[in-house]
């Protein structure tokens, strides 16, 4: 029963839940633990938590916060942000996290992806790819979108797959926080060239957007940022999630 997964992608900064627009202007949302309790109630499939200050601030992963989160989290979880070593990954898994997302380290030292997927199994290693549209296509950026790698996204995604990434978290920097819909062209270009699951992230503003990125973009999963923390056009803070029955109906229509 492989189904399309839909999951919140939560951003934390200095222990607080925030939401960005195009990777900038982190807006304070509230307490991450409180949000997780609400997602428990909503029976969310899976959860992604990214600490957006961990790499730029050289802080490393927030182990204390992760421990508080996993204690409350009655669903599987993926963590990303600031991971630089095998020991850190081991410690994160010991806290009860199922997967880690690697971003800057994967670009800086691709052999790290190979090493950790061999050690922990590729199912637990997600490579997070942040892409931005440039004159000639899409390029990969690291350090929270601050640093260009000069690498083209499809070639990069294929390389990460061959190194042992079990999954790709593909985020459109241009669409992040805009709620204007996923960048289907970006998602399709990657899903056409890799066999591993691709989680599309960046731009979800409605149920229709989820359907489009699954149907046309061929995404295996959709991650929701703003849609999971805001309500309405004025972006009032409201932690929530589409109803499971609505998602099931929506995604059945896709496969039908």
């Amino acid at each position: 029963m492989l189904q399309t997964r839909v999951m919140p992608c939560l951003l934390v900064l200095d222990g607080a839940l925030v939401k960005t627009v195009r990777f900038k202007d982190p807006h304070y949302i509230g307490d991450p633990i409180n949000a997780i309790r609400i997602y428990n109630e909503k029976e969310v499939d899976e959860l992604i938590v990214l600490d957006i200050g961990a790499t730029p601030g050289h802080n490393g992963p927030p182990f204390q916060l992760l421990s508080e989160i996993t204690n409350e989290c009655f669903m599987p979880m993926c963590y990303g942000g600031g991971i630089r070593s095998v020991d850190e990954i081991r410690k994160i898994f010991a806290l009860g996290v199922e997967k880690v997302a690697l971003n800057s380290i994967a670009a800086d030292d691709p052999s790290f992806v190979k090493r950790v997927s061999a050690e922990f199994g590729r199912q637990s290693i997600v490579v997070s790819v942040d892409a931005r549209k440039t004159g000639h296509g899409y390029d990969v950026f690291t350090r929270g979108g601050r640093q260009p790698t000069g690498e083209e996204v499809v070639a990069y995604a294929r390389r990460m797959e061959s190194l042992g990434a079990g999954e790709l978290l593909l985020t459109s920097i241009d669409r992040d926080g805009t709620m204007e819909g996923f960048d289907v062209e970006l998602v399709r270009s990657v899903t056409a060239c890799v066999r591993i699951p691709v989680i599309a992230c960046g731009g979800a503003g409605s149920l229709k957007d989820i359907k489009t990125v699954v149907h046309q973009g061929k995404a295996s999963a959709a991650a929701l940022g703003s849609l999971a923390v805001f309500h309405g056009q004025n972006r009032a803070v409201l932690i929530g999630f589409p109803r499971r029955t609505d998602l099931v109906r929506l995604l059945e229509e896709v496969s039908a």
């Binding site: 029963m1 996993t70 204690n71 009655f74 669903m75 009860g96 199922e98 199994g121």
Partner: protein
């Protein structure tokens, strides 16, 4: 009092929280005295089979658990690796298991499966109840559980199996032999379905 046995095989925080949420008195401990006074036990666990057995032995819990579970018939629920330790042995390691079940722990054999399946089996899947049992009360019609494992139980006594799960082929995913129970999936990561199962363990078995 329910005791969640802490033997250094992964975080037990979410198990603790979920058991508290269903309204039971529960502690996490590796203290033999605390375990001796428990009404029910939970053996969770993520990691390698040999490491799990080694940790139980180093904490001097092996004989104590044998006494509690086999002689005193204290109800115990094994989760994932915790359940696998109830078997005689595992293809994952070389140490002997607790041997409480006429069962071994086998590696998934997916080479011949028609679909391109991979191990570990990781994700949401369902359990097909094969026998009526209070542990699966309320879960007969609809259920959804979170699995992460590369090895699974193979029971020799079919009456020990109360639920099966399909991944390439059907394997034994929920076990009940009197006071000895276990799930291959993680109830603590399975929302209301996992909570229902833990509630059944706390109240009805």
């Amino acid at each position: 009092m329910i005791v969640i046995i802490n033997y250094g095989m992964g975080n037990v925080g979410s198990v603790l929280n979920m058991v508290q949420k269903v309204g039971a008195e529960v502690v996490v401990s590796s203290d033999p005295q605390v375990i001796k006074e428990s009404d029910k036990l939970i053996l969770p666990g993520v990691g390698a089979f040999d490491q799990g057995m080694q940790n139980l032995e180093e904490l001097h819990l092996r004989e104590l658990l044998q006494e509690r579970v086999i002689q005193k018939k204290t109800p115990i629920l094994g989760i994932c690796l915790g359940l696998q330790l109830f078997t005689r042995r595992s293809e994952e390691g070389s140490r002997a298991g607790l041997g409480w079940l006429a069962a071994n722990t086998l590696r998934f054999q997916l080479e011949r499966s028609s679909e391109p399946l991979r191990t570990p089996h990781m994700g949401w899947n369902t359990v097909r109840p094969v026998r009526e049992d209070s542990l699966l009360k309320g879960l007969e019609k609809e259920n959804r559980f979170y699995f992460v494992h590369s090895y699974h139980l193979a029971c020799e006594d079919a009456t020990d199996v109360i639920g099966k799960t399909l991944y390439g082929y059907e394997f034994d995913s929920v076990i009940r032999r009197g006071n000895i129970m276990g799930t291959q999936f993680h109830p603590e990561k399975s929302h209301r379905f996992g909570m229902q199962l833990l509630k059944n363990f706390v109240r009805d078995v």
